[in-house]
Each structure stands twice: as C-alpha cells, then as structure tokens.
C-alpha cells in the first residue's frame, strides 16, 4: 500500500478513530485506489506497532461504512463502488468538525459575528487564492 499512516498513541483520540480517519483520507485523496488490497491485520499492526484487535476494529468499521470489502481468505480491498464517495463524505465530516471547533473557539474568546466572519473570509482568501488564478 503506497499510503503512509502514523498513529499517536499519546493522543486522547482512540487509535482506531485515528486510523479510520487516515485511511478514509487516503482513499479520498486517491493515494489508495479503488480495488486496492489493504495489508493484513497482522501486517498493519506490526508496521505501526499497535494492537491487532485495534486494526481488526478499524477494518470492521470501514467495512460497515461501505469503504472496504473483506472476504475470508482473500483479504480486505477498497470497494470499487462508492468507496470514494463514502471516504469524501467522511473527510467532509472531519473538515466540518474542525470548522465547528474554530467558530466555537472564536465565539468563546469573545469575537463578534462580524469579526468571526471577517476572519473566515481572510483565511479563505489566503488558502483558495491560488486556485482561482
């Protein structure tokens, strides 16, 4: 698998959630292609030095979310139908949560609606500027 994952066991975010997010992100970005095979549970657990049951849970949840297919004896594969859509939706969820946190933080620090909007507009201008040129 050409994607590189890293986990931070010292984070308060459970490892399985960290891995699910990274795998979905890799699929949404195309670094893991539809139809591609994922490493076995044991191989990924050893590569990352994390508990095998944690990786098994990641694969179970990815299967439940319609991102991968696991068949006994063959392994786990990224679905060719709709895995990308599901992964992009998941990535949008991550972005929405980050946005939500930022706005809540601005509000709790005492910024007015106008000040927050202005801050957002400036941030958007900075990051989307090159795309419009």
């Amino acid at each position: 698998m050409p994607a590189i994952f890293t986990v931070d066991p010292r984070s308060g975010v459970p490892l399985y959630l960290q891995l699910i997010e990274q795998i979905k992100r890799a699929i949404a970005l195309g670094t893991i292609a539809p139809g591609e095979q994922l490493p076995t549970v044991k191989a990924l657990a050893l590569e990352l030095t994390v508990n095998p049951n944690t990786v098994a849970r990641v694969y179970r949840e990815l299967e439940r979310d319609g991102v991968i297919d696991t068949s006994p004896g063959r392994g786990s594969f990224v679905r060719t139908d709709g895995a990308g859509v599901e992964a992009r939706r998941a990535v949008a969820d991550v972005a929405r949560a980050a946005f939500e946190t930022a706005v809540r933080e601005a509000k709790s620090l005492g910024l007015s609606r106008e000040e927050t909007l202005e801050l957002m507009a400036r941030t958007i201008a900075r990051w989307y500027e090159t795309e419009n040129e």
Binding site: P9, R10, S11, G12, V13, P14, L15, Y16, L17, V41, K42, A45, L46, T49, V50, N51, P52, N53, T54, R57, R104, E105, S108, L109, G110
Partner: protein, 294 residues
Amino acid sequence: MTAPISLRGVTKHYGSFVAVDDVSLDVEAGSICGLLGPNGAGKTTTFKCLLGFAKPTSGAIAIEGAPLTPATFESLAYVPERATLYDDFTIADHLEIYRRSYKSYEPARARELLALFELDPSKRAKRLSKGMRTAVALTLAFSIRPRVLILDEPSSGLDPVHQRNVLDLMIDAAANGAAILFSSHQVGQVERAADSVAIMKKGQLIVNSGIDDLKTGEKIIEAVFAGPAPDLGDLAGDPRVLRIEQVGSTVRAVTREGSDEIAQRLFALHPKSIRTIDLNLEEIFMNAVSGDQR
C-alpha cells in the same frame, strides 16, 4: 468458554496485609492486557498467584480453562521483572535447557530472537547487563511460541529500539492467537500494544476496560464563567461525573462517560466559554490512582 487467562475473586493475604484484594480479570485469546499500578499495588503478587508461585487466600485461577498443572507450562511463558538465570551458564546453555524441557521449543525461532536482541550465545549470564538478562528471558519465553504470556515489566533495562521489539513480539503473538498479560510503568507502551487496560491500586483492581472505550468516555469538560462560578446543582452527584474541580471562575468536570450530556448541562449555566479536553492513558491513569472516587 473461559478466557485463556482468568482470575475470579483472587485475594492474597500476607498476615494481616492484603496484597491482592478480590481481583477478577479475563484476558481473551488474541488480546493484550496492560496492567498498570504504582509500586506495591499488587501487580507482581497477582502474577505469582497466576503462576502458582503463591497460593491465593481465596478465589480461583484458570489458565486455558483449567487449574495450573505442570503441563500448563508447555504453552505458558513467564518473564519476571528480574530475569532468573544461572550465572555460570552461557546463553546457549540456557537455550539447551529449554530444548530439553519443552516439546514446544523451536530452535529456529530462538536463533531469530537472539539476532533480534543482538545476543551472543557464548556469553555467560553473570557477564550480562540488566537489559541483556531481560532479553535472554524474552528469547526463552518466545522460543516456545506460548499461547499464554505473562510478562512483568518486560522491557526493563532495554534501550528504546529493543523496547519496541518487545512490543512487536507481543503484537505478533497476539495476532497468532496468544493471550497476553503484561505489567509496565511505561503507560505509552500499554497505550500502543494493549487493547485492554487493568489498573491496580492498593491490591484492588480499580479499572478494567478496553483502552478505546476508556478514552472515549473519560474527558474533561472545562467551563469558564464571566464571574464566580454559579451553583452547579447536583452535577457532582451525576454518576457519569468522576470529579469536579473549581478554581475561581473555571469549572472542570472529569467525566467517566456521557461527556456530551455533561457539557450540555454546563452549557445551560451560560458559561463564557466551554471546551472538551481529550485525556490520554497517562492522564486517565493518574486520575484513577490519585482520586478516591472510584
């Protein structure tokens, strides 16, 4: 089906001192349980009871569904905190003793492990550093491909590279179906390698949970109010709240579960700001052993 490692109400008294107090714990096949606790919490005594080196005052122990017999040790490996080796014997001699004692001994596996830990088999035990002694004990333990592993501080004296190797050995064994119970003072190791965590304090098992569940449930909700903090009502009495800390206009609620609902309850009191703080295992561990709330 009983779990491969099973303790039921295990209690061990030394005179009037209660070293282990009514501990019940299961470790399933393919699972790694990390045992944490301050010194003197009863971790090593629990291991001694598990291995039959100490007789529990009460309670029951089963390894792979049966009480201990000599045959149990064919599939069980134990690494004590201080490796017990024969001083005048070489590492190769120790492996030879294992070859003669265990039907399950695999010479090829032993050679792999010697290479992994960079051990010279011709060295005598008395010439080994503390870390090398630990590495020899680990080599012996994993050379029989045990189905049950009990490891007391398995990385003591090892450098960070070999500590990582120990975690990988445990992960590999668990992926092949072994049940593993290990104690450690390094919370980070438990956080990586274990799927469940047990925390002991003064002989009692005060936490026994999946690590992910623990992290999902235990959070700090911090609310900052404009003036002095208002009356919190019966928030402290909520069973989902472990503890409330209050300094001036800041209120911190440590939750065991249901952090979203607790945040909403605090939000209803109109704080200036409110945030949820994720806790890592070290912080959860410190909360557990320092508080009396559990």
